[in-house]
């Protein structure tokens, strides 16, 4: 492994062979390719194996509650919209416990990059089904498989109005690094759902399983500005083929631009408005 200014000396706690290592490497590469420094980035982590990613990157870090990475990122971004925010979340964290925030962040067009490490299982809590678990996959707690039809995150994001929707695969590192960089450069909500094999708990959607199915959209003539086409791609039956790459890209008004007061500068950059407050107080 090459060294990086984003390396930390913390022992990595993921299982050997976990797809997260490749995602971590792709993140480092994407950061370096943009000439970013550790202090330039704020990583927000959910809770789960995916959510641990920020522990292994020398950056600013905000690591809170299960399912609540996006609201935290929203607050940080409103406080200082110059922050370059990348969120690492899991399929359980983001689409399960945090499902409501996922929809809300899209509707806000929150100007961040969301990486969902989608291993189609709850990894850290030992293999329960997640919102993206295959109906055929039994677990200790749902021996007959999940009782809920899997959620299609990309289709959902598209109908909810997301501006940048992509899919990555941990096994395609170069492509992923490129996608991350593109997402970070997109002004507005940019999400990448990243298929990530969980070697410990997901025996169905293995590295090989994905490998056999992924198909780079770049090779198909897909037009990422066409919403119905993007939706059709997102709704491809996942068992047969998995299109990766940018499904959709359409800039809109990013969240910060929806606040007049943030037009000039970040909220953190304003001095204390003592005089104005005095005016208000003397007018009461």
């Amino acid at each position: 492994m090459t060294t990086s200014i984003f390396d930390t000396d913390r022992e990595n706690q993921w299982c050997p062979g976990c797809g997260n290592f490749a995602i971590l490497a792709a993140m480092k590469q994407a950061f370096e390719d943009q000439n970013l420094k550790p202090r330039d980035i704020l990583l927000v982590g959910g809770i789960g194996q995916a959510g641990k990613t920020p522990h292994y990157l020398a950056c600013n870090m905000l690591h809170g509650l299960h399912g609540r990475a996006l609201p935290m990122a929203t607050g940080a971004k409103l406080a200082n919209h110059h922050l370059n925010v990348v969120v690492s979340s899991g399929d359980g964290d983001c689409y399960g416990e945090g499902g409501n925030h996922f929809l809300a962040a899209i509707r806000r067009n929150l100007d961040i990059t969301l990486l969902v490490h989608n291993n189609q299982v709850y990894g850290l809590t030992k293999g329960q089904s997640s919102p993206t678990t295959d109906l055929a996959m039994g677990t200790k707690l749902t021996p007959g498989g999940p009782t809920s039809t899997p959620l299609n995150p990309l289709a959902l994001a598209l109908t909810a109005g997301a501006g940048f929707v992509a899919r990555g695969f941990s096994g395609a590192g170069e492509q992923l690094a490129g996608l991350i960089q593109e997402a970070m450069n997109f002004r507005g909500f940019a999400m990448i759902d990243i298929f990530q094999p969980c070697v410990s708990f997901n025996k169905i959607n293995t590295h090989l399983w994905y490998k056999e199915r992924v198909k780079d959209l770049g090779d198909t003539g897909h037009d990422p500005t066409d919403l119905p086409q993007a939706l059709a791609v997102a709704m491809t039956e996942p068992g047969t083929q998995i299109p990766t790459g940018v499904l959709y890209r359409k800039p809109g008004v990013p969240f910060q631009d929806r606040f007049t007061v943030l037009k000039d500068k970040a909220l953190t950059d304003y001095p204390f408005a003592g005089d104005q407050i005095n005016d208000i107080l003397s007018g009461i």
């Binding site: 930390t8 913390r10 550790p38 202090r39 330039d40 980035i41 704020l42 927000v44 809770i47 641990k52 522990h55 020398a58 950056c59 600013n60 870090m61 905000l62 690591h63 809170g64 509650l65 609540r68 996006l70 609201p71 935290m72 990122a73 929203t74 607050g75 940080a76 971004k77 409103l78 406080a79 200082n80 110059h82 922050l83 370059n84 409501n100 925030h101 929809l103 809300a104 606040f259 007049t260 007061v261 943030l262 909220l267 953190t268 304003y270 204390f272 408005a273 003592g274 104005q276 407050i277 005095n278 005016d279 208000i280 107080l281 009461i284």
Partner: protein, 569 residues
């Protein structure tokens, strides 16, 4: 003694009874009189029954009264609902167009409000007619009345202004014929030292004065009133409000913004606060400042959405799994609210702990004449240590210090990396399961407690040698004070003890203060939560408790009555 009357204006939701009260309060305030108003309304938008209580006095008032001298009935139900409470010397003004047929007789006066308004140019102004009637009854000069109407409707254009002036005069003409025993002198002048304000506005201004800039919210009565008052200042200040998808998002947004350097406050009520509990703990373990205002209402669950209660004290002190230091306050008046919210923001920043301010529907919605001490202090002073930022990557967000407070830097500033985790963490902010580190971190957080305790004030005591003390907390302060003074006038040797700072308290100091005192708890809950807290901190048992949990304020009259009951037994 001075003059002191109460006007009850009742009607249906949507009939604008609060407007009548507001006009009258304006006229009184202009004449240097003191007012106290409070609202009683249902969880609906139209119909039903609501009422507005306006008390006016020639001396400062700290509580409403439930016994009206003037009863204004805009609809037909009002008189029946409230007639029993009317003072024997009082009068009732019934809206003849509101379904109250018949003529004036005895102390009942029937005035056709809509007809008069129509005569003045539009039925819509019938509330202004009503205000005119009452203003005249109270003895206000027409000039004063006109002046208030003029300024109130100025922004609405000349047509509306003219209509309302005509309407108020119509009413005034009728009111002059009504005989009322306790008219006021309206010769005084408005004092620059006084201001009429409700608790919701005071809370909003307190937060702004302390440099809160971010208010994520999810609407919930009665907390919404507070954010509404913040919103009134949008555009004038560097302030961002954001409607969250739910309360969980709101509290996590506040923490995220605070991490990035912006003081943040969320206002909600009990149900929303329940949903914020996990986030409260996150603020605790990450040592990220944040203020939550819980405007209490009766619960549990949906409870009584537009009513009042003081029943979340112990919940606030213990909310969240595991333990961490926090502040809990409960201001007792509108001015106290302003000052307390400022202090809460400042102390939360200073100690890097969450602070909870307990208000309630009664406090947020009741307006009163307050001494105008609403000023920007130095609570906006920054506690963020920029100098540390230059330490670069060796900066440790959770450096162990003697006082437990670690240098706080902002993320993405030139050098420091700021790492924050809701897992237990080492000083650098990264998660750790090490047992010794865990102990060190719990201790680090708790070592702040003595200094935090010193920041808080023990309760205020009145008449230190009384034979018993009416003991309460928060919003009922004024009611307790009034009841106490009333009892003393009747020769009953009552004092009061009132808590506004509630956690963490100096247990020994409190014990010293309370030992030997006979306490009668006065609280808006069913189990005497403050009484329980006192017992917990000091081992002292209270004598009796006056508990009110019907969703309505603890009117002074109620306290007086119950004290007499207790004494009779």
């Amino acid at each position: 003694m001075g003059n002191d009357i109460t006007i009850l204006i009742g009607g249906k939701a949507g009939q604008g009874i609060q407007t009548i009260g507001a006009i009258l309060a304006g006229i009184c305030h202009d004449a240097g009189l003191f007012v106290f108003s409070t609202d009683d309304f249902q969880s609906r938008i139209r119909g039903g029954h609501s009422f507005h209580l306006l008390r006016v006095g020639s001396r400062p008032l700290s509580a409403p009264s439930i016994r009206p001298d003037i009863l204004v009935a805009i609809d037909e139900n009002t008189y029946d609902i409230h007639r029993e409470k009317l003072m024997s010397s009082g009068i009732a003004i019934l809206n003849k167009n509101g379904g109250n047929d018949g003529d004036s007789k005895g102390n009942i006066y029937r005035v056709p409000l809509q007809d008069l308004a129509a005569e003045a140019g539009g039925k819509i102004a019938s509330n202004t007619v009503a205000a005119g009637v009452v203003a005249a009854v109270m003895g206000a000069g027409l000039d004063r009345v006109r002046a208030v109407i003029e300024s109130r409707f100025e922004a609405k254009g000349e047509k509306v202004q003219t209509l309302n002036l005509a309407a108020v005069e119509k009413g005034y003409g009728q009111g002059r014929d009504i005989c009322f025993q306790s008219p006021f002198s309206f010769d005084g002048e408005k004092s620059p030292d006084h201001v009429v304000m409700a608790g919701a506005k005071a809370a909003a201004l307190g937060a702004l004065a302390a440099d809160c800039r971010f208010f994520p919210f999810y609407p919930m009565s009665p907390g919404t009133g507070i954010v509404t008052e913040v919103a009134a200042n949008l555009g004038k200040l560097p302030v961002v409000m954001e409607q969250a998808e739910d309360e969980i998002a709101a509290v996590n947004m506040a923490i995220g913004a605070s991490y990035a350097g912006i003081r943040s406050l969320v206002a909600t009520s009990g149900g929303g606060f329940s949903l914020m509990v996990e986030g409260l703990g996150l603020s605790g373990i990450t040592e990220t400042p944040m203020v939550i205002i819980n405007a209490q209402r009766p619960g549990p669950a949906t409870g009584l959405a537009t009513r009042t209660a003081q029943a979340d004290l112990l919940f606030s002190i213990h909310a969240s799994q595991d333990e961490f230091p926090r502040f809990v306050f409960a201001p007792g008046s509108v001015l106290d609210t302003f000052k307390t919210v400022k202090r809460a923001v400042m102390l939360s920043e200073k100690y890097q702990v969450p602070a909870i301010v307990l208000m309630d529907q009664y406090l947020t919605d009741s307006a009163r004449t307050e001494t105008n001490d609403f000023v920007v202090g130095d609570e906006h002073h920054s506690y963020i240590q920029d100098t540390e930022m230059y330490q670069g990557e060796t900066y440790h967000r959770y450096k162990i210090t003697e006082d437990g407070v670690s240098p706080r830097c902002l993320p993405c500033t030139p050098h420091a990396l700021v790492r924050v985790a809701g897992n237990e963490h080492t000083p650098d902010g990264l998660p750790s399961e090490e047992p010794l580190n865990r102990v060190a971190m719990v201790d680090k957080r708790f070592v702040k407690l003595p200094a935090m305790t010193r920041e808080l004030r023990l309760p205020s005591v009145f008449c230190n040698n009384s034979s018993f003390f009416l003991t309460g907390w928060g919003s009922s302060k004024g009611c307790i004070m009034e009841a106490c003074l009333h009892l003393r006038e009747e020769g009953i040797d009552a004092g009061w003890i009132i808590f506004e700072d509630l956690w963490p308290l100096d247990a020994q100091g409190l014990k010293d203060m309370l030992t030997g005192k006979r306490l009668i708890m006065v609280e808006g809950n069913a189990t005497s939560q403050l009484g329980t807290l006192i017992r917990t901190l000091t081992g002292i048992e209270y004598l009796a408790a006056i508990l009110k949990y019907d969703g309505r304020p603890i009117y002074p009259e109620y306290i007086v009555e119950r004290v007499k009951d207790i004494q009779a037994n």
